[in-house]
């Protein structure tokens, strides 16, 4: 147990590990047909790999790394749109750093910047607004991205722009919502999940109620989880306990951050500015109904999609990349045929390799000491499978 010393409370981790094993044997799955728990959020993916959490779990439990890394699910066509916006003569294109290296069909934003486009990394949408104030003769576009965690901040920035009447600021809105996505995952016929670890910070905004359909309509347990390794272990234990006791409920392990009703002020800002799109395209997952938002008509003046002409093309993912299969949990990252060869953090082919929250990047960094799933379904590429 390489990382156990780094746990703030190793004794508790070991104790939880034992209880998890006991519950798992009560449930009685096998390594051939393991219990599959999807961690929805990329933050959890990172934590699971960083702390080698699978070594605390018996073989009959497997993590399926969910789609909850917003950078990773950005489709190529949208990146192309970003590049097209950034390359317009009078535009200053502002973005979070994470999105800079996501490959489009021709180039990333980083390459566009190297080619002379005015692309600037910002920490906050408020910084983009500030750039707009300082450059009244330029058009400043902010690339809005993320789930409900960052959506309120973008909404508030648009409200601020409108209140101040800043005409040269606009939003290229790529925000996505977690609930329709989870529903699409649950509706998929080839999926075999037994439970979920719910995202911590999305839930801090939306609360725990929106997940109730997972329990009521699909009879699956979901536990909203914190990001500490102990949080993750405890949440796994809670999921297992539900399964062992024949329950399917929404439980909240992260109550210290996530109130049942979320953050009403943040929800209000989101509701004021955004409306649901009929569908939105995801990398690897295709189009998911109602999974994205756009600006309401009242804020059309701040909508980059209405202000500028965008190519807005659907671009298929490269044939060699298997991001979709990884996102659906059908294969492990290392089983992708280009993992570690054509696709690495230095030269990412798929977006899952870009962000540290992406399953492939996490696998690349820590995967060699993590045996999650590999022992069960051996594949080429990975040589150092720990015995």
């Amino acid at each position: 147990m390489k990382y156990v010393d780094e746990f703030r409370n190793p004794e508790q981790a070991k104790a939880l590990s034992q209880e998890i094993r006991a519950l798992a044997s009560r449930i009685g799955r096998t390594r051939e047909r393991p219990l599959q728990i999807m961690e929805v959020c990329g933050g959890h993916t990172h934590s699971i790999f960083r702390y080698g959490i699978t070594q605390f779990l018996p073989e009959e439990i497997e993590f399926v790394h969910g789609p909850g890394c917003p950078v990773c699910v950005l489709p190529m066509g949208r990146v192309d749109d970003c590049v097209a916006l950034a390359e317009l003569p009078n535009v200053i294109f502002t973005t979070f750093g994470d999105a800079m290296r996501v490959p489009g069909s021709k180039k990333s934003l980083l390459k566009a910047k190297a080619g002379g486009a005015d692309v600037r990394m910002v920490y906050s949408p408020l910084d983009a607004l500030q750039i707009a104030r300082q450059n009244p003769y330029r058009e400043v576009v902010f690339f809005g991205l993320g789930f409900e965690t960052t959506m309120p901040s973008t909404a508030m920035t648009v409200l601020q722009a409108k209140a101040e009447g800043i005409p040269n600021f606009s939003l290229f809105c790529n925000h996505i919502t977690i609930i329709p996505t989870l529903r699409a995952i649950l509706d998929a016929p080839d999926l075999n999940l037994d439970g979920f670890l719910g995202p911590g910070h999305v839930s801090m905004v939306i609360g725990t109620r929106p997940y109730e359909f997972i329990a009521s309509d699909f009879s699956k347990p979901i536990v909203i989880s914190g990001f500490e390794p102990l949080d993750v272990l405890q949440s796994v234990w809670m999921v297992l306990k539900q399964i062992a006791e024949g329950r399917a409920e929404v439980e909240n392990q992260y109550g210290r951050i996530v109130p049942r009703d979320g953050n009403p002020l943040a929800q209000k800002a989101v509701h004021e500015v955004f409306e649901v799109r009929e569908f939105f395209e995801w990398r690897g997952l295709g189009s998911i109904d109602y999974s994205g938002v756009r600006l309401r008509d009242a804020y059309a003046a701040y909508d980059a999609e209405r202000k500028f002409k965008l190519p807005n093309l659907r671009v298929a993912d490269p044939k060699s990349c298997q991001c979709g299969d990884v996102l659906k949990g059908l294969i492990k990252p290392a089983q992708c045929r280009v993992f570690g060869t054509q696709c690495s953090p230095e030269t990412p082919l798929g977006a899952l390799m870009v962000s540290t929250e992406g399953a492939c990047a996490a696998y690349y960094r820590y995967g060699r000491i993590d045996t999650s799933g590999l022992a069960k379904r051996p594949q080429s590429n990975v040589t150092e499978i720990a015995a």
Binding site: E6, P125, I257
Partner: protein
């Protein structure tokens, strides 16, 4: 971006705009605290409190112990420096 970073609210920068100066690992920057204030919790009462900051917005109030644990977590995950660099990114 999604994990956020804990910071301690050091001062109020603009009461009406609900802007505060937050101290994140010794780096000071102005953030928006509109999501954590309401009629029971005024702007002024935020000074000294810890909050989880996501992309320049205070999203939730946290206690000091939670802040310390989250900072340690970010360090161990190798996210601390990059997040701090992001926070530092001043708009010239």
């Amino acid at each position: 971006m999604c994990l956020g970073i804990p910071g301690q609210i050091a001062a109020i920068a603009d009461k009406d705009a609900k802007l505060a100066v937050v101290d994140v690992g010794g780096v000071k920057r102005t953030i928006n605290i509109a999501f954590i204030v309401n009629k029971d919790h005024s702007v002024e009462s935020c000074v000294g409190e810890w909050t989880l900051v996501h992309v320049g917005f205070a999203m939730v109030r946290i206690d000091e112990a939670e802040a310390a644990a989250t900072l340690a977590l970010l360090r161990e995950m190798g996210e601390y420096e990059s997040e701090l660099d992001n926070v530092r990114q001043a708009v010239a």
